[in-house]
Subunit: 254 residues, 2 copies
Amino acid sequence: MNIVILGSGNVAAVLGRKFKAAGHKILQVISRNASAASELAYEWDTESANYPSIAKPNADIYIIAVSDDAIDDVINNIKLPKQIVAHTAASVSKDILKTVTDHYGVFYPLQSLHKEDADLPETPIFFDGSDEMTKKKLEALANSISPQHVTHASDDARSKLHVAAVFVNNFTNHLYALAENYCKREGIDFNELLPLIDETASRIKDISPSRSQTGPAIRHDEETIEKHLAILNAYPDLKKVYEFLTASIKGFKA
Amino acid sequence: MNIVILGSGNVAAVLGRKFKAAGHKILQVISRNASAASELAYEWDTESANYPSIAKPNADIYIIAVSDDAIDDVINNIKLPKQIVAHTAASVSKDILKTVTDHYGVFYPLQSLHKEDADLPETPIFFDGSDEMTKKKLEALANSISPQHVTHASDDARSKLHVAAVFVNNFTNHLYALAENYCKREGIDFNELLPLIDETASRIKDISPSRSQTGPAIRHDEETIEKHLAILNAYPDLKKVYEFLTASIKGFKA
């Protein structure tokens, strides 16, 4: 397919690379960030532009991959009434695109995407569309870059999915950051924790996390918990997190 | 080396396998759990016994790999005054072994070990010993199964390490469990989150988690946070976790 990408950030860059790798043609990349746009255009051997209003009119699909607060600016500046236009945002309704075209939808990648990464991670896509034709086209595009993981999801389902993603991605990363910070102050090499972090993430492929919970909290091992809290007296913020999540584990019912 | 393993649980099984794979000989495996002991003895082509008191006296190293609350029972039933004896517990002092031998220490694997796993995960070892000879021997044993990740750690350092492990392993797994549970109730396929979980864990090898934090909390994206909290009204426990960790991210300073 011929694709125009609006945006030049992480999602735009990684999706664009996946489209290229799947054999699609990027007709144009458009971004207010002129240097980022021309870098991607160079990488993809295509043209760049800096204003949504000068989007080429002849693409099969237009992907708006900009941050939530920049969507309005793009939408207010394009009219493509006969084309398929989709945004990539988890928590923005597809209907925001109503004024742009009759054929609008969503193309949401459930992944943490970073343009500086050399590898393209496996990326489940959740699509939606205003009509059957739009849905079919977006589904086909999704299948071309992520054949195992393509799901239809309404606005509501996508928002709910985003909540789950916040737990396993943002909150988990925060726990890593807290641990890293603590290790730094204690002179512990954080790298020694990486095998454990890896194993924790990979074993849930085989065993449900509800059934594989370990540690002092689930064992109600108060002696160890007290020992840990004593250590954490030097780290009041960390101590609060420890107490809170220990209580949450104790009270958890699958 | 010739090794006697006391214990037949996850740590005993996986360490024993690693010792075997590194070319050591398991002289005997001892556990109150007779069937688990004989299963491991069969696997390792060695003998099993059910009482610590009948440990063979001629091993180079005795590894006590039992749960924290079972250590006393083992210790009260062995006397090996000239041998090297080490336990594997994070939060138990090495001095608990004083009554057993003059050459005692710790052999702590910083990993989530499960006997049913087919693969043996990379496992950093933190060792300690009552004297130089004991330290050297335990360090050599550690190097034979985990050449990249062997560190000396005092009782105090090991306890502090354990706190970090609780954050990145137990607490992280709890977030996975909460998300899984939520997905089940919302009809979301939890497997679709696995690529994101994987990516979140692996990218911290390249980028510090403090610098790669993403999501509505770090962006102070109150609109999305409100949307998420509205969804979580149906899940009061999850909502509390969301509010708590969102505040923790907002207040975090590396």
